[in-house]
């Protein structure tokens, strides 16, 4: 995490809730990424939202403009990645979350956060804001193991997703992946078509020249190379790769090979949503 110059956007104080439970990680860099684009990010433990803490520590989801679920792991990813975090959220603050989403407020889930959003039923959410049970799954990588490697994403969203609102369609970004369970699956044969029809596909894995990815460019075997999707309303997005790890160029795996810009490729995602909220 390094300071990033060149941020001129000074929007109204956008308050971001970066949610954590025991065993989450990546929350510091997630908060840092939002701060880098001028937002006010706070690390909030799930306990603080459920009232299981002394008065001055309590928080209400209502107070925030953006909810961010960080990557890494949660509760060791025992049972299934994201399952424990999702079940605890749903039972404790399920209605607060539904209200938050129906209010049109942005929710971002990265990596483990994406897994949590799917387990919660906030993605793909074809029929309702939050489905009762999960309707998709992020399943074990085809390789059967954890993969930490650079991946290249193409913005395939036609304009609905709030997190890519200032990123040109077709734009290529280099955003690294690090996960063991990132293969987006559904048993619905029309799954991909539905996502396409609703403009819910956000990012696809591609090769450097933008052509179709195969392993390792698609690190998990996800169908149609999908790396990130949003809900039908466009305010909930989940993605496997980690934009918060590339806020400056100096954390890109290949920056010594002459990357052109000083910004990292993850920055525009955070900037998009903050600009929308200004």
């Amino acid at each position: 995490m390094v300071d990033h110059g060149g941020v001129q956007v000074r929007p109204k104080e956008v308050k971001v809730c970066v949610l954590r439970i025991e065993g989450t990680n990546c929350e510091d860099e997630m908060a840092y990424a939002f701060r880098a684009v001028g937002a006010q990010a706070e690390l909030v433990h799930l306990k603080q939202l459920t009232g299981a803490v002394p008065g001055e520590k309590r928080r209400n989801l209502e107070e925030y403009d953006v909810l961010a679920l960080p990557g890494g792991f949660s509760a060791g990813d025992y049972v299934r990645a994201g399952a424990i975090f999702a079940a605890r959220m749903k039972s404790a603050i399920g209605t607060d979350i539904t209200r938050f989403v129906e209010d049109g407020r942005p929710v971002l889930g990265v990596c483990n956060g994406f897994q949590v959003l799917v387990e919660l039923g906030l993605l793909p959410a074809f029929d309702e804001t939050m489905s009762k049970t999960a309707t998709a799954a992020l399943y074990t990588n085809n390789s059967g193991r954890f993969e930490c490697r650079p991946t290249i994403l193409r913005n395939d969203n036609r304009g609905k997703c709030i997190f890519t609102s200032s990123i040109a369609k077709g734009k290529i970004l280099m955003i690294p992946s690090a996960h063991a369970e990132g293969n987006l699956m559904s048993l619905d044969p029309d799954f991909i078509q539905k996502l396409e029809d609703n403009d819910q596909v956000v990012f696809r894995y591609v090769k450097e020249d933008g052509s179709k990815a195969e392993y390792p460019w698609n690190p998990n075997g996800s169908r149609s190379d999908i790396a990130g999707i949003c809900n039908p309303a466009g305010n909930v997005m989940g993605m496997m790769p980690h934009p918060e790890r590339v806020i400056t160029r100096y954390t890109h795996a290949d920056w010594t090979r002459n990357r052109p810009s000083a910004d990292g490729d993850g920055l525009p995602i955070f900037r998009s949503v903050i600009e929308k909220l200004k």
Binding site: D3, G23, G72, F73, E147, P150
Partner: protein, 621 residues
């Protein structure tokens, strides 16, 4: 412990025995040490007997077990301390901030960085997954103890050959199986804790078949004003036990680490092997750093080898005080543990902190917020003794100096035979293609990417130079990784490893030097300046003069070159008794982990060739 001739059960409603050493002769003492798995020699037992003669009573089983732990090689470095003192401890520089559980060096005006490496060899040879995972857990705690946020991990490993199924002695596991388990253990624990594994190495040779080496290093960053001490602030303080519950796991782990592996180790060392729980660890790290950052505590130390028995004594003694412990307050995993088991258990994920009584409440509140168990179990006193109580009964009282001092040996050694130019034969090479292919397919040369990419090396978003460098998805190994420890600053910490066991076997003195030299070159190759080293000295049985000679010479080499370069070694670890069954010793392996500084990481360089037509220079001779 079952009823044995020398153990007299005390008339109390719990398991407590007085051990009759006062009326035991040498043979009896030897038998007591063996039957109680104390790992103490007859001479050591006699010293203990003399002490208790002065006390006018026999020791309890709790006291004997505590001595067994405290006087093990692992805890008191009895065979190596003299050598370390003579050659490496003395290298001082004004930017060494601490030589505690981890070494701490100045990073910038406001911060220090922590470094330490440790071995987890024997547990990993028995249960590779759990052994490696708990190794990571332990080294993370050593860094957290300094008040430092862990920012990176290193994992240099040595195994037997993996390119073929080999004949292994009974009880020894296939190197392939061991390597797979160790890599998975490091992956799962490191990734789940969210600390990037950024450097390391793998080395393969037959001589590691019976005794693999799993060394794990950790780096951290701490604000200078938050630098923690590892001992009590003085008398009248409270000791708070933090983290996991105490169980039977890991009992006699340190004695086990200080013995040769025998063929039956796999079946009967279960108590010495533990599984880590990264999900407890992560909140423990957060909570410990929070109470330290708020300056609510006076000292902090992790529970490693020897468990409570070592940590309470060391924290009190170094703080210039004694301690009274309420042993029954210790939260347990299971019922029915005898007091001595609780006292020496090495259950994972535990730390101890000391504080002024008025801060206890605030501290407990913070741990509660993180759902981390924290229990006051002891008080520091103005005596020089440690006492333990169980349901009102005093079950332990010993002089701290005697308990934690431990013996120190000047064991006999033989100067190793050093290979000379005359001994070297340059092999006749077949054609170049064949040689190249053979080299590239040798596990010592072949790409380690399959393992490196299972470790998250970018979590925390602060990895500037990655372990693999070059064109995306066509990368090769880099020389050193660079981390950006301070958010908002481009000052970088370069980290790399160095060790050449083959050299060291031929010439231990120069082999020790070569490890430091390699670590330095790796660091310089990314554009950073070497600043400090930490070392893990993996050697064989020190009671064999030729093995001790190797250790001594290697350490002398390390010391000479480090002093020559004026680069300190503020921390390290010694792992002896690395011998498989039948006394096949490992190669002498002084593993070096080096740290370097680079003022502006934007000026870092990587090894990959950037474009056609560049010039290549060879530097040095």
């Amino acid at each position: 412990m079952s009823e044995k001739g020398f153990a007299v059960k005390r008339k109390v409603p719990f398991e407590l025995h007085d051990i009759d050493i006062l009326s035991s002769n040498d043979r009896g003492l030897k038998k007591i040490s063996e039957d109680m798995s104390l790992g103490l020699s007859v001479d050591e037992m006699k010293t203990i007997k003399d002490y208790f003669k002065k006390e006018g009573r026999n020791p309890t089983d709790v006291e004997m077990q505590a001595l067994g732990q405290a006087w093990s090689e692992h805890c008191c470095y009895k065979s190596s301390k003299k050598i370390l003192k003579q050659f490496v401890f003395g290298i001082d520089r004004e930017d060494v901030l601490s030589r505690g559980d981890a070494g701490v060096m100045v990073f910038d005006d406001e911060h220090g960085y922590a470094l330490r490496v440790e071995s987890h060899n024997h547990p990993s040879a028995i249960e590779p997954y759990g052994g490696a995972a708990t190794g990571i857990g332990g080294i993370l705690r050593d860094v957290v103890c300094m008040g430092a946020q862990p920012i990176g991990l290193a994992d240099p490993l040595c195994f037997g050959p993996i390119d073929k199924e080999i004949d292994v002695p009974p009880g020894v596991k296939q190197p392939r199986y061991l390597l797979g388990g160790v890599v998975s253990g490091i992956r799962d624990y490191g990734n789940r804790c969210g600390i990037p594994t950024v450097t390391g190495g793998m080395f393969f040779d037959e001589r590691y078949t019976g005794n693999c080496l799993v060394n794990v290093g950790c780096f951290g960053i701490v604000r200078k004003k938050d630098l923690a001490r590892n001992y009590a602030g003085g008398r009248g303080e409270v000791m708070i036990l933090i983290g996991g519950r105490t169980g039977r796991d890991g009992i006699h782990g340190v004695n086990f680490a200080s013995q040769d592996l025998t063929t039956t180790s796999g079946e009967d060392s279960r108590g010495a092997v533990q599984l880590g729980d990264p999900i407890t660890k992560e909140p423990v790290i957060h909570a410990c750093l929070e109470v330290n950052g708020k300056h609510l505590i006076t000292g902090m130390k992790d529970l490693g080898g020897g468990g409570l028995s070592c940590v309470v004594g060391e924290m009190a003694l170094a703080g210039g005080c004694g301690a009274d412990v309420d042993l029954e307050k210790v939260p347990l995993k299971e019922t029915g543990l005898a007091p001595w088991e609780i006292w020496v258990s090495e259950s994972q994920e535990r730390m101890m902190c000391t504080c002024k009584p008025e801060n206890v409440e605030k501290i407990l509140e913070i741990f509660d917020m993180w759902d981390v168990l924290a229990t006051p179990i002891a008080k520091t006193t103005d005596s020089s003794r440690m006492r333990l109580f169980w349901k009102g009964e005093k079950i332990f009282e010993m002089d701290l100096e005697f308990l934690t001092g431990g013996p120190q040996y000047d064991r006999p050694f033989i100067m190793p035979k050093v290979s000379t130019k005359k001994d070297e034969v340059f092999p006749k090479l077949p054609n170049g293609n064949e040689v190249l292919l053979a080299l590239l397919s040798d596990p010592n040369v072949a790409s380690k990417e399959w393992a490196i990419r299972q470790y998250d090396h970018e979590v925390r978003g602060a990895t500037a130079v990655h372990p693999m460098v070059g064109k995306l998805n066509m990368t090769g190994p880099g020389d050193a990784a660079i981390l950006l420890p301070v958010s908002g600053s481009m000052k970088g910490l370069a980290v790399a490893t160095g060790c050449n066991p083959w050299f060291t076997a031929q010439d231990p003195y120069r082999g020790g030097m070569a490890g430091i030299d390699e670590a330095c070159r790796n660091i310089v190759a990314v554009g950073a300046k070497p600043n400090a080293f930490t070392d893990c000295l993996n050697f064989g049985n020190p009671e064999r003069p030729e093995r001790l000679g190797e250790l001594r010479e290697a350490v002398r080499g390390i010391g000479d070159i480090a002093r020559g370069l004026n680069i300190p070694i503020p921390s390290g670890n010694v792992s002896l008794y690395n011998e498989g069954s039948g006394g096949i010793g490992i190669l002498p392996t002084p593993m070096i982990v080096g740290c370097g500084l680079i003022d502006d990481a934007r000026k870092a360089v990587t090894a990959d060739l950037k474009k056609n037509g560049s010039k290549i220079f060879l530097i040095g001779k």
